[in-house]
């Protein structure tokens, strides 16, 4: 079986600051992966590099066997923060935009998802609560039929009821041919749905583990994560 994602020796600097250095990661398909690290550790940067939004990196990215920028873009769906849409834009117009830009955008998937997540096509973006807006971001991201889905902090500002609803939609939307990476600085919120976690620290990926292997050492994912950071505090 070929790897779904290969991050090969990526180094990325911004204004002479090293954000990521010699970073490597290999992922198979059919996984829900948590990307964890404290704020500012480079989680979003890594996602943007995989999606080819940040371009001036050193190293190679391969997604589903593709290495060319345009081909990779067609294999990765990254959660859009919707910042380019005005508050008066209707959900249905955002949908139309997505249909135009992404040939793999599935209308039926999207309608099913927003119905499940209680979002109306007629709502204006500005009228959505923070949690509703996050749900819309997730619905748009998951509605593309592609290989790799990247959700950047999907639970910020989402209450626990909505979180449970979103988690169900994540569990049911990923199949054996795709994988989903979710970044979070609050891992206990999502630990049960993850089968792997990737930890970023000191500008690189320091761990990539099966979640059940961590639990079999009688550690919760949160304890495991905290232990990795605590070494430095003392």
């Amino acid at each position: 079986m070929t790897d779904l994602l290969k991050v090969n020796d990526i180094t990325y600097k911004k204004n002479h600051h090293v954000i990521l250095e010699n970073t490597n990661l290999t992922l198979g398909s059919g996984h829900l992966v948590g990307l964890v690290g404290i704020n500012g550790s480079g989680k979003t940067t890594l996602m943007r590099i995989i999606t080819q939004l940040n371009k001036n990196y050193r190293g190679d990215i391969t997604v589903a066997g593709e290495t060319a920028v345009d081909k990779i873009k067609s294999k990765v769906s990254f959660s859009d923060d919707l910042a380019s849409f005005s508050n008066s834009t209707k959900v249905d117009n955002i949908r139309k935009f997505y249909c135009k830009v992404y040939p793999d955008f599935s209308m039926s998937k999207f309608l099913e998802l927003i119905n499940f997540l209680d979002i109306s096509l007629n709502s204006k973006l500005g009228s959505l609560s923070k949690g509703m807006r996050e749900k819309l971001v997730i619905a748009l991201c998951l509605s593309r039929e592609t290989s790799l889905y990247l959700l950047d902090e999907p639970f910020s500002g989402v209450d626990s009821m909505a979180r449970k609803q979103i988690i169900k939609s994540l569990l049911s939307w990923i199949d054996e041919n795709s994988s989903l990476i979710i970044s979070s600085h609050h891992i206990s919120e999502i630990s049960e749905i993850l089968d792997e976690i990737v930890v970023i620290k000191d500008n690189t990926i320091i761990k990539h583990e099966a979640t059940e292997d961590i639990r079999s050492q009688n550690l919760s994912l949160e304890e495991y994560f905290e232990n990795l950071y605590q070494k430095e505090i003392k």
């Binding site: 569990l171 049960e192 749905i193 089968d195 979640t211 059940e212 079999s216 550690l219």
Partner: protein
């Protein structure tokens, strides 16, 4: 469903399924929900659910029928074995707690006997 985060979840799922068999929510010889349905129902990763089912198949508690899904073994002995295991687990946990408090074996027996007398009346 709430799971403990510091114990492998596949083991906890096995326990959930065993309990459902004992309580006859899943009946002897009948089909249990699919991996995907269980993943949604329990709110856990599909690969983790698959691992639990594989273990239960290995233990002879579930039988996989190609293309049809997983069935509870049509064998009363298997069900009795699960029941015995669950009972052992509970007693084991109780024993550990009481012996950690410094109770001897006979004190534990006395305590349980007293308790049961109290329950009956």
């Amino acid at each position: 469903m709430e799971f403990k985060d510091n114990t492998p979840i596949y083991l906890q799922i096995e326990e959930v399924i065993n309990n459902r068999i004992i309580s006859e929510e899943y009946k002897i010889g009948e089909k249990i929900p699919s991996v995907r349905e269980l993943s949604l129902d329990l709110g856990v990763n599909i690969n983790t659910v698959q691992k639990s089912l594989n273990e239960l198949v290995d233990e002879g508690i579930l039988i996989t029928q190609r293309g049809r899904g997983n069935f509870v073994a049509d064998d009363l002995k298997v069900i009795l074995k699960i029941k015995q295991e669950l009972v052992n687990n509970i007693i084991n946990e109780m024993y550990d707690k009481l012996s950690n408090m410094g109770l001897s074996k006979s004190e534990i027996v006395d305590a349980v006997t007293e308790f049961l007398k109290g329950r009956k009346e």
